[in-house]
Amino acid sequence: MSSLLPLFVIVPLAAGFIAPLGQFWNQTHGARTVRALALLAGACLLAGSLALLGRGPVVCWIGGWPEPGRATVGLSLVVDGLTELLLVTVNTIAFLALLYSWSYVQRFTGQVLYYCLFLIMLAGMNGVVLSGDLFNVFVFMEVAVMASYALVAFGVDRSELEASFKYIILGSVSSLFVLLGVGLLYNLTGQLNMALVAQHLAAREPTPAVWLAAGCFVMGFGLKSAMVPFHAWLPDAHPSAPAPISAMLSGVLIKAAGVYALCRILFNVFGMTSPTGSAYAHVLMTLGALSMVIGVLLAIGQWDFKRLLAYHSISQMGYVLLSIGVGGAVLAAGGSKTVAGLAVFGGLFHLVNHAVFKGLLFLCSGAVEYATGTRDLHELGGLKKNMPATSGCCRVAALAIAGVPPFNGFFSKLIIIVAVAAAGYWMLAGMAVFVSFMTLLSFVKVQRYVLEGTPAHTTAAVREVPFPMQVAMVGLAIGCLLLGVLAPLHKDRLITPAGRVLTDERAYAATFQPPTFDVTIPEIAARPDSQERQP
């Protein structure tokens, strides 16, 4: 079983590099073969990630190093509840986005390269969530975001190039801060395996260097997940990409390379119950609350459909970080495990829900743009008559993100608000309610200007989008409903184990138990000048 784990990276990577060969074969058949190959790869990954559910902690050492206990330079892939949750989310959205791309991308030139970049990005994201090694997290994150830089600029129009340039500069700076954090942790512990680093950090007093490393990770991954002081690139970059890519970027990339990595490192490596844990938790809460409020306030005034959705991504990811941060704060203060578990559960549930409904909203905006050629809300209107499937799905997604029962967004927001209030942060709970209300207001505007009203001259003769695009959207819309209504059925298999990974934070360090704990290069940690540099 564990030897199959590298396939989550190998399959999309191999398919991504085989794909460009298709265009040498035959122009028309080549493109179709590449599409089919990409879809097949996506389906295999989805099936694999579903099969992995509930298999518990599995560790796979790559490279055949003879003694995993000693050879701490070997790379490990680790699967636990949190990884399973993220893998299922990433691969589900990816499969549906590939299905949607089947028709959507046919208008573009160079669609073979589109699939190549898409699959490389998918390989990077799967790698980030699987990796048990700090440096490997950095490498896979770079693989994923580098493909996304190119995909943002895919249209090579003026605004797309500008957005991609902003994104690549800020993305590079954030990656370099993550690399600096990895270097600092290697300096402190002489290890790169996350479980071993966690064991080392738990055994020592926090020095300023630990704070510095945590700060580097917060800044690096905070920029990747577009939390509010670092959010400037997201509203430019996400709308500029083709719609299925926007769905992937907003739906899963900011979670896999941002929120997941940040939570994994702060909870499972640095540890919330450590003396510094309370500070980390409060940083997460502050970032979350700021993003939640400022994101939605900036979204209100937008008239570009996709830009509006991008601002809502910042706001909704704020909910996720706020809730997980509150869970961490309760853990750090030694409070009730139940409340902490509920807060973390709410955050992770909202993370999954956001992937589903925001993915759906971006696909709907793509369908609207595909049919009408514009995404300016002023020029749209009256689409519900000619595009029944798209407008039905758009309505479901808008109700879900605004938190209207019985859709999934309602349940996760309710759990978040209850958990935050139960932890004693009444102000933050009030803010969450307020933001939810503003979100509803903003999506009433979308409904009013896109679906209702009299058809504008640009939209009078539109037709419904092709069948594969409809299937992808209807699939996500059903997901919005079922994730909410069937929560009692799926929560014990999907989300509770993931939450337990974060609340029982020391369990992760215990996934690595070497028979003879012996550091290969003992001088590194003890070298006299290793502590002196503090930038």
Binding site: A150, T520, R533
Partner: protein
């Protein structure tokens, strides 16, 4: 300040120069150079993690089988492997950034970022 900390100071200074160039300069090419300087400052920092004064190269001579004795005299090879990876990643990133700069120049006719402002709000 001992001699051993000087390279760390150099890394810090380079890092600050890189960040300053990224934030303050208006020319796209200069911003790309700023990213490069920042990247190399961090590579230098990583390299210093494995440095040992007077250490030998981390290559085992044929027949030398004593791992402990070898590890006690050689420099740490792991950061060097990390830097190699990070340089390759940086190269890919640089190529993409330069491609974007060329395309931006074709579209806008300028390298000045204050005049490349389609997106706002």
């Amino acid at each position: 300040m001992t001699f051993g900390t000087l390279p760390y100071v150099l890394a810090l200074v380079l890092m600050l120069i890189g960040l300053y160039v990224i934030v303050a300069k208006k020319n796209i090419i200069k911003i790309i150079l700023g990213v490069l300087i920042l990247e190399h400052s961090i590579n230098l920092f990583l390299l210093l993690q494995g440095y040992r004064h007077g250490g030998t190269a981390p290559i085992r001579a044929p027949g030398q089988l004593d791992t402990e004795a070898f590890a006690a005299t050689s420099v740490d090879p792991l950061p060097q492997a990390l830097i190699l990876t990070s340089i390759v990643i940086g190269l890919g990133c640089l190529a993409l950034m330069v491609c974007l700069a060329v395309r931006l120049y074709e579209r806008f006719g300028t390298f000045d970022i204050t005049r490349i402002r389609e997106l706002r709000g």
